[in-house]
Symmetry: C2
Subunit: 325 residues, 2 copies
């Protein structure tokens, strides 16, 4: 059924609101008023976090690759990943969406079912949004969260001599993208890592109180390391041979005749966390059985930003993905 057949915009909003988790004791007014009203803030000890991400059809997702359920899951996960990277817990979500005039209601409902799936997993409440009409499906999500002062992990909190770690293997999402883009069929784990990535809210609460800077890897390890350097006023050494890369990613790279390390350094959307941590705190983290893969070291700014290749050759760390290049 088309959206106009079910009664238009407001009928659609009512349907969608009914399928999503949209109630919470702190939510005085959610979907259906001019603005959401949220009470019960966190005096003194906690900060409010707000992140926002825009996903455009055929750029950030492809309808011939992903189901609307998968697109919805990814849309929420990439925002939840930003909250994880701050050391916080997600709370309230706002979804603005441009839908095309003649699209099927079922598609939109599946999208929201996917979003709701991730919301339920992480206790996220859909608190509002805007539904409008456009020529290109565009999803803009704003996600709020909360973090204690102790857990809050800014990009500017890295110190020279800290160790740089990642929470898991990198490059799978980029490998999946490039295989799909060449019309090849990725193995399921790689395909799913690209189409429905998770976020590391499972480990971020353990890492956050011990880490310095933290960032999620959405534009490749190199770009994220540069962000930490920019904001902390530090340099960095990345050890290429210590970047964890799944054997399936290596196999995919071989199939396509490219280097797996490039997927890890410059490919995006792994949504693992990159963090700086002291040697002492890294021991504490390991005692908690949290996976942490050492990939480099924070340096003084004067040392620059270096990638140390497997053959020990030192090269300047290049950038990552940029939407306008």
């Amino acid at each position: 059924m088309k959206i106009h057949e079910i009664g238009g915009e407001f009928a659609l909003i009512n349907r969608l609101a009914g399928t999503a988790p949209a109630e919470h004791p702190d939510l005085v007014a959610g979907i259906g008023d001019d603005a959401a009203v949220i009470d019960s803030f966190y005096p003194g000890q906690e900060s409010l976090l707000v992140t926002t991400d825009m996903l455009v059809d055929n750029r950030h997702f492809r309808q011939d690759w992903a189901t609307p359920f998968q697109i919805g899951k990814k849309a929420v996960a990439c925002n939840a990943s930003d909250i994880a990277a701050m050391g916080g817990s997600p709370t309230f979500m706002f979804v603005s969406i441009a839908l095309t005039e003649n699209m099927e209601t079922a598609w939109v409902e599946e999208l929201y079912r996917g979003m709701s799936d991730v919301c339920r997993q992480h206790g996220i409440v859909l608190a509002g949004g805007d539904t409008t009409c456009g020529d290109v499906i565009t999803i803009s999500i704003t996600l709020m969260g909360r973090a204690t002062k102790q857990n809050l992990s800014l990009r500017s909190d890295a110190l020279p001599n800290d160790i740089l770690c990642v929470t898991g293997p990198l490059g799978a999402s980029a490998a999946g993208f490039h295989l799909l883009n060449k019309g090849l069929t990725p193995p399921d784990p790689i395909k799913l890592k690209h189409l429905t990535p998770g976020c590391r809210l499972d480990v971020s609460p353990f890492i956050a109180p011990l880490a310095g800077a933290m960032i999620d890897i959405s534009d490749g390890l190199a770009a994220e390391a540069h962000h930490i350097c920019d904001q902390s006023g530090v340099g960095v050494e990345i050890y290429a041979d210590r970047i964890p890369i799944d054997p399936l990613v290596k196999a995919a790279a071989a199939t396509m005749g490219c280097k797996p390390m490039d997927f890890a350094l410059s490919g995006g959307e792994d949504f693992e966390l990159l963090f700086s941590i002291s040697a002492e705190n890294l021991q504490k983290l390991k005692a908690k059985k949290v996976d942490a893969f050492i990939v480099g070291k924070v340096m003084e700014a004067s040392a620059g930003r270096t990638l140390i290749l497997p053959e020990k050759k030192r090269v300047t760390l290049s950038g990552g993905y940029d939407h306008f290049r």
Copy 2:
């Protein structure tokens, strides 16, 4: 200059952040981290407000009608209007934007200059966002605000026998739109009301403590009255001959051979406020020299929703603008 010529996405963000009001004592981390960090919440006595609106090129704005400066102004004003309608003050803003690949940096800078202009006027701080690439320029704004419990005005707060008022003349924006759409030249006041509408944050702090329900008129008086009825569980009578309409709007309607009342009832984007208020509180409001034009009365739900035409004929109140009809 094109965006890739100035150095891509991050260079653009730095430029834009430099031109906007982006600092505030409560803003621990703004543009440049995974999420904004906001402190100093309002324990007990105040609520956090969050509203979001998406504007799509050629649907919500037209580049052949409006300058990017004007588009930026309108984008912020329509969100600020939602905060006004809740009885709140705007605080922090997040802008997600899809830009086309080859667009001029100057256009984007003018857009942000327009946004910043309205931000400065109302003390709004740009705290974050997302910049990405798309085939259609799409602007998604999330605006936060704060409201005291006393001022908070929900759509659900209307009571039978309350008077319904609006804060100013209606229909000018719709008249402007229809003139432009026919290739005619609207008189300046009407043209500007469509291209750069204001919002009623100037009067909402006086109205909010005295009003019942309040809503901003973005989809026409009829649609907003329906929203109040739906959420307050009440009926309504609207007096057609008391709806304030500017003489220029009447002249524009005459030019196009249509009824000025239709612009007021079903045309959108006036961004005046519609509110319910007791007779006693309306006297108090008038004592404060706040303009309030009586346009109707809140009824019991069983009385239905009625438009009383100038000739006293009673008709069912129809709907307003719907993006999917």
